[in-house]
């Protein structure tokens, strides 16, 4: 009988009531009395020298309050980068300045050159059109390999190269890996592209800057996944506003997928302009602006080699990746192709020798940073594709080849610096065979063939690192922040709870699942617990939500704070019951003395804490409010096996996903329904990457896929019902909930399964010359590959 409340229950998402009835409070719903509006003038060339900005005509237009240009930001800090990578020669990465408004040069289409603040949005937009930019166009560099080779066309002249860093991991392994590959019985090589994506959250970015003269207080309302991080970065590094004079609010946020982690120039601008004009200033991104200013994702070009011995054991993996940084270093960009990618190259396999080389490259394109999965999808895709290719070359079953090489003993220290605490890869492999009905595949293939279609089955086994992250570890790796999480549990006098968390919910269902944890611990109904998040004024300093960390890290902080509450409440209860603290038990919302029928209700204890007439004041303080900061001791390592069945129309190259199944090991599960929803969403995004989505620049740096006419998002008819199973559970060993995180798995596990299925389908139709198709596998690409 499934539970109907607490941990393990599929409690309905309470936040959906407001999301689905139009009563959410998104940033664009916030309008501050007297607000002005900003329209940004953005570069329409990819690379050029600014020789003049003529604002005279625009300034004379109705409603215009002020036009800002780069010169207004001289002396103001640039946007900081939160992660410093050290290259394989011991040099720190190149870190060119990232101005709020362009200084001297523009480096990508969409870069902000000027900003018009006016009384109304329409007046701001009209005047922005009248700002005349004189930009002497320079040759643009888009292709990463050309960028590295070029010494003439430089995105940042002052650093003398387009190479941000050349990272080797683990550098000491390099010779051993080269030797192992040289002596291997078989080496499979694959060159591939992990396509550039635009995150496209349903809600575009919005920023409202406000300034209160009376208190010299700035407030920024913004679409962020981590308001405290924005406050720290913007306050300390860009605008020089101390935290006690700066409040950042991220209210309801309509999807983030990583792209709302970062500190953006627009939000710094609105905060700055509000102070300068003593007026609130609002910006709401248009969808066109989102395409050319939200940080993009992925964009890796990789060569991977997998070496095997005579018995098909993996002996070495060697990779070389070019990772696009875009024109500037976005907040966490340097960490994505390195520590979130190189550390995952062992996958689920006991390959003894691994070497990863990553060249991060500046180009005249929008900055690239974390997008759902962030580094781990890139690692999984190349590894799972090359294993599939190796299985074909060797004529062995792809799942058998994987199983033969699975890690089976835990903890397992990989040659790429991480230690997996738990996992059972055979269990998820068994489970996927069952739920995806491998046994019935041949029958389904024959049915497809009878319709003139080719059917393929693709599998993928993934591991990822979630719950980021141990602060002392990431500090060594170059992070300029700690990655703990915080929680304050405030018990109200009559027993209800407000839980203030540093995590941020932008679709994940925290308001539902976090109360399940607390309810389980105290034994009071979930509806007595409210989750407060998203406002630096009323939550403790926390690091926010990304890297599938909210439950594993933020949830653990809530557990720790709740434990403190329970300890104190137990003391109060012992006093009220005139019993020894050691004999008090908390069960179903009541404290009782073990072995007696004496008990006191939760609400009576909490009331006593705030109305301490009968209270051990000499021993403990009144009140019932506790804060905890939780810093994890390791990453968590969710894993799983995915299976995809596609049909390919050999006449057109059209691919349709017919079946998709996911067997995940997320450790313990708090709310199965929310977990399934997270996997569904991730798989839909992964299918989008595999078959549809592609961000395209032309050779002059013009963004061609800048609207939904040219950038294909997955729609309902592209995604089948996804069969999800999370019954394989090896609980995380180092956090109190035993949870691992489920937010990104779907997007990590699905792209290789889809492409492996497409290749399998083509081989079944005799197109055995096709060894790889780059994503997105559009009809055009598939058909062209079939023609040879």
């Amino acid at each position: 009988m499934p539970k109907d409340h607490g941990i393990g229950a599929s409690s309905k998402r309470r936040e959906d009531v407001r999301f689905l009835t139009g009563t959410g409070n998104y940033t664009d719903d916030i309008n501050v009395y007297g607000q002005a509006y900003v329209a940004f003038v953005r570069s329409d060339v990819a690379h050029g020298r600014i020789t003049g900005i003529d604002t005279a005509a625009a300034e004379a237009m109705p409603g215009v309050l002020k036009i800002f240009t780069g010169s207004d930001f001289e002396g103001v800090g640039g946007l900081p980068c939160g992660w410093q990578v050290t290259d394989r020669f011991g040099e720190v990465m190149k870190e060119p300045p990232h101005p709020v408004l362009a200084q001297g040069k523009v480096r990508h289409v969409g870069e902000m050159v000027a900003a018009v603040v006016a009384e109304s949005l329409q007046e701001a937009r009209d005047a922005a059109d009248a700002v005349m930019l004189d930009i002497e166009e320079l040759p643009a560099i888009v292709d990463m390999k050309k960028a590295v080779a070029s010494s003439e066309t430089l995105v940042h002249d002052e650093i003398g190269t387009n190479l941000c860093y050349d990272w080797g991991f683990v550098e000491d392994n390099r010779d051993a890996v080269n030797q192992a590959i040289k002596g291997a019985a078989h080496v499979t090589t694959l060159e591939l592209v992990n396509n550039r994506l635009v995150a496209n959250p349903m809600e575009p970015r919005v920023a409202v800057g406000d300034y209160n003269r009376a208190g010299d207080m700035s407030t920024l309302y913004t679409t962020s996944q981590n308001p405290h991080v924005i406050r720290l970065l913007m306050g300390a590094f860009v605008l020089g506003i101390p935290e006690h004079k700066l409040r950042v609010v991220a209210p309801d946020v309509g999807g983030g997928f990583g792209t709302k982690i970062f500190h953006y120039a627009e939000e710094a601008f609105c905060t700055f302009a509000a102070r300068a004009l003593k007026r609130p200033v609002k910006w709401t991104s248009t969808r066109s602006e989102a395409f050319m200013s939200d940080a993009h994702g992925r964009d890796h070009v990789t060569k991977i080699e997998l070496a095997l011995d005579e018995a098909n054991n993996f002996v070495a993996v060697r990779t070389e990746t070019y990772a696009n940084m875009g024109a500037y270093l976005s907040t966490f960009a340097p960490s994505v192709p390195t520590w979130l990618h190189g550390t995952l190259m062992a996958g689920n396999y006991k390959t003894p020798n691994i070497y990863v080389n990553v060249k991060a490259v500046f180009t005249n394109t929008v900055p690239v940073d974390a997008y759902r999965g962030a580094g781990r999808p890139e690692a999984t895709f190349q590894l799972e594709r090359v294993i599939d290719k190796a299985a074909r070359e060797l004529g062995v079953d792809p799942m058998a080849l994987r199983r033969q090489n699975f890690i089976t003993e835990f903890p397992y220290a990989t040659p790429v610096a991480v230690e997996y605490d738990t996992g059972d890869y055979h269990a998820t492999a068994d489970k996927i065979a069952e739920i995806a009905d491998f046994a019935g595949f041949e029958t389904r293939r024959k049915e497809s063939e009878a319709k003139g279609k080719l059917r393929g089955l693709g599998i993928n086994c993934y591991i990822e690192a979630c719950g980021i992250a141990p602060s002392n570890l990431v500090g060594q790796l170059g992070a300029r922040a700690g990655l703990y999480e915080s929680a304050t549990v405030r018990v109200n006098a009559t027993g209800s709870l407000s839980v203030m968390t540093g995590s941020h919910s932008h679709g994940q269902g925290h308001e539902t699942s976090f109360p399940q944890v607390v309810s389980e611990m105290i034994g009071i109904p979930e509806d007595q617990i409210e989750i407060v998040h998203g406002d630096t004024a009323n939550t403790p300093m926390g690091m926010g939500t990304y890297g599938s960390r909210s439950l594993a890290v933020g949830g653990s902080a809530i557990v720790r704070a709740t434990e403190k509450i329970i300890r104190k409440a137990t003391k109060i209860a012992a006093h009220l019951l005139e019993a020894s603290e050691a004999d008090i038990e908390l069960k179903n919302g009541a404290f009782s003395v073990a072995g007696t029928d004496k008990s006191v209700a939760w609400g009576d204890v909490t009331l006593a804490a705030y109305v301490p007439h009968n209270y051990p004041l000499e021993d403990i303080e009144p009140g019932l409010e506790e804060t905890a900061f939780y810093d994890p001791s390791n990453f968590t390592y969710p894993s799983g096996a995915y299976a995809c069945e596609v049909e390919v129309d050999p006449e057109t190259g059209q691919v349709t996903v017919e079946r998709f199944s996911a067997a995940d090991d997320f450790g313990n599960v708090i709310n199965p329904m929310i977990v399934e929803g997270q996997v569904h969403g991730g798989v839909a995004q992964g299918i989008g990457q595999a078959l549809l989505e592609n961000c395209v620049y032309d050779e002059t740096g013009q963004l061609l896929s800048a609207s939904y006419m040219d950038y294909a998002m997955p729609r309902a008819d592209n995604v089948p019902m996804v069969t999800v199973d999370h019954s394989c559970q090896t609980p995380c060993t180092h956090n109190p909930l035993g949870v691992k995180g489920c937010g990104e798995a779907g997007a990590i596990g699905s792209p290789p399964a889809v492409i492996n299925a497409v290749i399998d389908a083509l081989h079944s139709g005799g197109f055995t010359h096709v060894t790889h198709i780059d994503m997105p596998a559009t009809p055009n690409r598939v058909w062209a590959a079939m023609q040879g």
Binding site: V109, Q702, D710
Partner: protein, 180 residues
């Protein structure tokens, strides 16, 4: 994007050459041209209204003539700024070859680029659009010299009445010898 094509014009090279360098002819030939002033030596100022896919804009810009080797080859280059719509620029290298008595073969190699919203929203239609623009330009040039192939095809911009089968340019400059 790049395009190349050629066409035969029933006129000698000098006539074709002169036509290309005449502002009135250029104005008639550039699709959507509202205004064109200037001289070949100092360049022309042009205002062009065009709609590319979903983007409609007024482009203001410069057309310059360079690399002139009369009457064989010249280069027309232009750049137009369409404000919020972005920009368009292009260059056409035109070569004139004698192709018999009173007949000129005109070759052109066009390279065109667009930026901003034009590229972002119009990229799917831009190749076809640029080809159409180039096609129209040289068709109109041909018609300005020869006269329209038939009445119905006469460009809208051309309101000159008179002999249907003689190009208005040739009438204007008084060049003799009708091709038709």
């Amino acid at each position: 994007m790049q395009m190349s094509d050629s066409r035969e014009i029933q006129a000698d090279r000098e006539t074709v050459w002169a036509a290309i360098l005449t502002p009135e002819v250029l104005k008639t030939c550039v699709p959507g041209c509202q205004e064109l002033t200037g001289t070949p030596e100092e360049g022309f100022e042009a205002t062009v209204v065009q709609k590319v896919g979903p983007v409609k804009a007024t482009f203001k810009g410069q057309v310059n003539v360079s690399d002139m080797d009369k009457p064989e080859t010249l280069k027309l280059s232009g750049e137009g700024k369409g404000g919020a719509a972005g920009f368009a620029k292009g260059a056409a290298v035109v070569r004139l070859e004698e192709a018999g008595e009173g007949v000129t073969r005109l070759h052109y190699d066009v390279e065109a680029n667009v930026g901003g919203k034009l590229a972002q929203l119009g990229s799917r239609v831009i190749d076809g659009f640029a080809k159409k623009m180039a096609d129209q330009f040289f068709t109109r040039l041909q018609e300005a010299i020869e006269g329209p192939a038939n009445e119905a095809d006469a460009p809208e911009a051309e309101a000159t009445p008179g002999e249907a089968k003689k190009g208005w340019f040739r009438r204007m400059v008084g060049a003799g010898g009708g091709a038709a």
